[in-house]
């Protein structure tokens, strides 16, 4: 069985503020963005609902970037990937 790739997740402050003890920079192992969300949910229960809707999909105004590309839940991750979770420009 191959080991899951080590990745780094960067979370926005406005998300981290919703979960006491959560951190902006997280090191974890995940083969896909969906697995990364699973990992965040294990660390801070409830975080999945803030990032994903029940379709399931990344929320419309949440952007996940890897290597400058906007990706979806099924995106495969590689060792050393840095995943940026960002809030889109929104509101008024």
């Amino acid at each position: 069985m191959t080991e899951q790739p080590d990745i780094i997740v960067r979370l926005p402050a406005i998300l981290v503020d919703l979960f006491p003890g959560a951190q902006r920079r997280v090191e974890m192992q995940a083969e896909s963005v969906a697995e990364m969300v699973d990992g965040l949910e294990r660390l801070w229960p409830g975080m999945r609902d803030r990032l994903c809707d029940s379709r399931p999909a990344i929320r419309r105004h949440i952007n996940v970037f890897v290597d400058g590309e906007r990706v979806k839940l099924n995106h495969r991750l590689s060792a050393g990937d840095e995943v940026f979770v960002l809030t889109a420009i929104s509101g008024g």
Partner: protein, 360 residues
């Protein structure tokens, strides 16, 4: 005399609390709470003082926030607050009601959820979505929202909901089965001769009269109504009012014949104060006659609206009444509407107003 009165204000940008002693002269504002999320409805459980704020954030989706220390600290949850995979996701919580051991949440798209662990986890009350009329529900201007949530204080199993624009629905078995309760309410927006359908009315707000016993009041897109049999039959009470259009309704805390409404000038005329002069209208006889209450309210250039959940009474002996405007002003009366004062002028757009009266 009560120790204090709290006004719970849900706004487009967070929840706020105004607090005063029983005299209700000096108000102290705190907030914004809930990380400035849009909060459609902010309520309290009177027995414990626990606060619940329902809303939905453009980034992070729907949740119900909770505070057990009158707003000092907050948690939030949407655990279970979801439709099955593949269905249109819930965008926002629109109404919250705490009753006995349960908390209920009405959401968009229209549905009802219940929590039996004080808002930690939620369960879908599926019976409402299973109603045979469900495929034919059409959204109102604010979307397909379950905005009014009334639970019979004498019987937990009896619930009325208002859905824009599907109408009023009632369950007598705790949510397993539902039936439309719209007879006598108009749908002026339908073709001539089809104006009294079984469902599809654009209900704006439903409130229960003091003492319940089957009496409800309704502000509709098309008229104001009273029922004395739990909504089996509604009677128009709009005669004597300046228009048939408005959003909020607020029942008196102890007198079942007293109701406060805030008619706007009309659905196609800008939806602000009639003649740009602000007034709350009060009936003391269950809607047979009406009196306009405007002392202290702006009587020129009042081009504001008041949304469906943005007016409420308190539970003091001489009832206080409060309303918030779409422009962010909050008005208060501590004498049942006879005289008014603006107690906040520059809040975000106000979406809901509720109160908590804390006795010693």
């Amino acid at each position: 005399m009560a120790d204090k009165v709290l006004i719970l204000v849900g706004t487009k940008k967070g929840a706020f609390i105004l607090e005063s002693d029983g005299a209700r002269r000096d108000w102290k504002l705190s907030g914004p709470f809930c990380q400035t999320w849009p909060i459609n409805h902010f309520v309290a459980r009177p027995e414990t003082g626990t606060l619940y704020a329902g809303g939905g954030d453009a980034w992070f989706g729907p949740a119900v926030w909770k505070s057990t220390d009158l707003g000092k600290t907050w948690t939030h949850s949407s655990n279970g607050l979801a439709y099955p995979e593949g269905q249109e996701p819930i965008s926002s919580v629109w109404s919250v009601a705490a009753h006995n051991g349960s908390v209920y949440a009405g959401v968009q798209p229209a549905g009802l959820f219940r929590s039996d662990d004080d808002g930690e986890t939620w369960t879908h009350v599926e019976g409402l979505q299973k109603h045979p009329t469900r495929p034919h529900w059409n959204p109102g201007g604010a979307g397909l929202i379950l905005h009014s949530l009334v639970i019979d204080p004498a019987d937990d199993d009896k619930i009325w909901v208002g859905i824009s624009a599907a109408g009023v629905f009632h369950t007598a078995d705790g949510g397993e089965t539902w039936e439309p309760r719209n007879r006598g309410t108009r749908a002026d927006f339908l073709p001539e001769g089809e104006n009294y359908p079984e469902f599809g009315q654009c209900v704006h707000n439903v409130v229960m009269a003091a003492g319940a016993n089957g009496r409800l009041y309704q502000q509709n897109h098309c008229g104001m109504y009273r029922t004395d049999d739990g909504g089996v039959k509604w009677e128009s009470i709009e005669q004597g009012l300046p228009s048939s259009f408005g959003f909020p309704a607020a029942a008196h805390p102890t007198d079942r014949d007293t109701l406060f409404l805030l008619p706007l000038n009309g659905d196609t005329k800008g939806r602000y104060m009639p003649d740009a002069k602000a007034a709350v209208w009060r009936t003391r006889d269950a809607g047979r006659t009406w009196q306009d209450l405007r002392q202290g309210l702006p009587q020129e250039n009042a081009y504001f609206g008041v949304l469906r959940q943005a007016m409420a009474t308190d539970r003091m002996e001489k009832a206080g009444i409060y309303f918030g405007t779409s422009g962010g002003a909050l008005f208060a009366s501590s004498d049942e509407g006879e005289t008014w004062r603006e107690i906040e002028a520059h809040m975000p757009a106000i979406l809901s107003v509720e109160t908590l009266t804390v006795h010693d």
